[in-house]
């Protein structure tokens, strides 16, 4: 559905994205993850026909974004980061205008459908200027869905919403993902983890990783973190455990709870368990915790040389371009 090859965009001398290549299949929810200024919005704008790329190719719903821009725009629903609403129109008039602009047949009925889908039925005659942020976001989504597009591009769809609204919008996106191909950008990692089938991590205009959220975790987790908990007196456990080969970075937490990282490629858990039991302690818990997507994200986007097992070529390339203001952007 979305097919991108070598996409590059320059704003004057500044290169916003460079050589992006990725695909999204029909029915997929693709998460586009990256710090602010990474090039997410630029990429999305290119894909929905707002601006042409400097070089590279992109096809959306089977049409080229440069040569067949109008065809692409017919098939894409787009919600920009700042939801573009006319404050002096009512919700109904706004959606009707968008429906007309997109030549939706039986526009009135379609508008009513969407008002219902997004729980806006009772606000149809409110002026947009009087709506709360959450409601505006929903109107923006309604606008993107008005022509039942094959591809839905959502730029930070949950930004500025309260937790209840966030959950609501995420559920809605998951629901929509059954019929539409969705690409959404976010810098909230748990969101990508919850909603997306596949995640693309972008930093400084480069793709640094691409996989399902689960595989991304396991692939990049060369080292695993393990939690150990013993009952009763826990004096000396830390020394004991840290002597087991394959254990590193042991840290003590509350009440006899310890956390350590495994040396990549080794699983010292059986030895740790044996050592603790042989020494007479009560082993209550021993379980691995994967690196969270947050950790992976920071690993991939920070400007430090070689995180554990950097098997991404882009990554090493990226690490060479240390740039002060971009470091501060990540903070």
């Amino acid at each position: 559905m979305i097919h991108v090859e070598g996409l590059t965009k320059d704003y004057g001398p500044r290169r916003a994205i460079e050589g992006l290549t990725f695909n999204a299949d029909k029915g997929e929810i693709l998460g586009f993850l990256g710090p602010n200024g990474a090039g997410k919005t630029t990429t999305m704008r290119i894909l929905c026909g707002y601006m042409p790329p400097t070089s590279g190719k992109a096809r959306v719903a089977g049409f080229d974004v440069i040569d067949q821009s109008i065809e692409v725009r017919r098939r894409v629903g787009y919600m920009p980061e700042t939801v573009p609403l006319y404050p002096d129109l009512t919700v109904y008039d706004y959606l009707k205008f968008m429906a007309d602009l997109r030549r939706v047949p039986e526009a009135e009925e379609r508008v009513d459908q969407l008002l219902e889908l997004l729980h806006l039925e009772d606000r149809d005659l409110s002026y947009i200027s009087s709506l709360s942020k959450g409601l505006r976001q929903r109107v923006g989504l309604a606008q993107a869905l008005i022509h039942n597009p094959e591809v839905l591009i959502l730029d930070e769809p949950t930004i500025g919403l309260d937790p209840a609204q966030i959950i609501e919008v995420r559920n809605l996106i998951r629901e929509l993902g059954q019929q539409h191909t969705i690409m959404l950008s976010t810098h909230i990692l748990s969101e990508a983890q919850q909603v997306c089938n596949r995640v693309l991590i972008i930093n400084k205009g480069h793709i640094v990783a691409e996989d399902t959220p689960e595989r991304l975790q396991s692939r990049l987790t060369g080292a695993q973190r393990v939690i150990v908990q013993v009952g009763g007196d826990s004096d000396g456990v830390d020394i004991l455990v840290s002597q087991v080969p394959g254990v590193s970075k042991l840290s003590s937490q509350e009440d006899g709870k310890f956390e350590f990282e495994t040396v990549p490629g080794k699983d010292p858990r059986p030895e740790v368990a044996r050592a603790i039991i042989n020494a007479g302690y009560d082993l209550l818990d021993l379980h691995p915790i994967g690196l969270s997507l947050e950790d992976i994200f920071l690993q991939l986007t920070r400007d430090e040389p070689s995180p554990p097992e950097p098997n991404e070529e882009d990554l090493t390339e990226d690490d060479l371009e240390v740039n002060d203001d971009e470091v501060s952007e990540l903070m």
Binding site: R45, P84, Y86
Partner: protein
């Protein structure tokens, strides 16, 4: 045509859902009403003077120059500032359709206001025996329509260049004042030896209006002038929207 009409209709309606339409209509009708009253006073004091439609058309032409920036600056500059331009530029609408739609919305709005001012000549027609001269009335109002089309087009073009409305407003005002008032004094000062005096005379917006159209003369040259300015400005506006897509 469908796209143009959709955009134009929204713009047209928007003028009436804000105070803009009413303020503009009020000011124009008030000023014209004062002129109208004064002319009637003069006419009743001086038996030789018979007022015609020009007592409305002449001040109206000048007022259009002052009013048009207020109508046009919003059209594209505001979309850009609010980000709603993203909506229009990602809709299946061609750039020129967007620009022409915006122009048409503003143009139809101005036509509505101009149509209301027809009440003054119509009232005058009742007072003057044997009625006012119909020729200048028709050609003059044709002139107002043509003038509006070209002024709005220039305004839309300038609006497409800015995302700051105040900058767009001031620039549009300056440009229209230049085209309306400044060109002919320049020609008078520099004289025919100025080199470009013919071109400058041709570009003088007020000359085409006052010299012929308000006097009952419909010269194809004047019609072509206003129409070509309109087309040219809309063309530049479309190019400007297209160019701004790139960065």
């Amino acid at each position: 045509m469908h796209n143009i009409w959709t955009i134009a209709r929204r713009e047209y309606n928007l003028y009436f859902s804000s105070p803009v339409a009413y303020v503009i209509a009020f000011v124009i009708l008030l000023v014209l009403g004062i002129f109208f009253y004064l002319n009637l006073q003069v006419a009743s004091a001086q038996p030789g003077y018979t007022p015609g439609a020009e007592i409305t058309m002449v001040p109206l032409g000048t007022m259009l120059v002052l009013i048009v920036p207020a109508i046009t600056t919003r059209l594209l500059a505001e979309e850009r500032r609010m980000g709603t331009i993203e909506l229009l530029l990602t809709a299946p609408v061609k750039d020129w359709e967007l620009v022409v739609g915006k122009w048409l919305g503003g143009f139809l709005f101005l036509l509505t206001i101009i149509a209301i001012t027809l009440i003054y000549p119509l009232i005058l027609n009742q007072f003057v025996k044997p009625g006012i001269d119909q020729g200048p009335l028709l050609s003059g109002y044709l002139g107002l329509v043509l003038l509006s089309a070209s002024l709005i087009a220039v305004g839309v073009f300038i609006s497409s260049l800015f995302s700051n409305q105040i900058a767009a407003f001031v620039f549009t005002s300056g440009m229209l004042i230049f085209l309306w008032w400044i060109l002919s004094p320049i020609v008078q000062v520099t004289g025919p030896l100025g080199g470009n005096s013919e071109l400058l005379t041709y570009l003088d917006f007020s000359g085409h209006f006052f010299d012929n159209l308000t006097r009952g003369i419909i010269d194809l040259k004047d019609v072509v002038f206003y129409l070509s300015i309109t087309v040219l400005a809309l063309f530049f506006g479309s190019v400007s929207v297209e160019i701004r897509r790139w960065g």
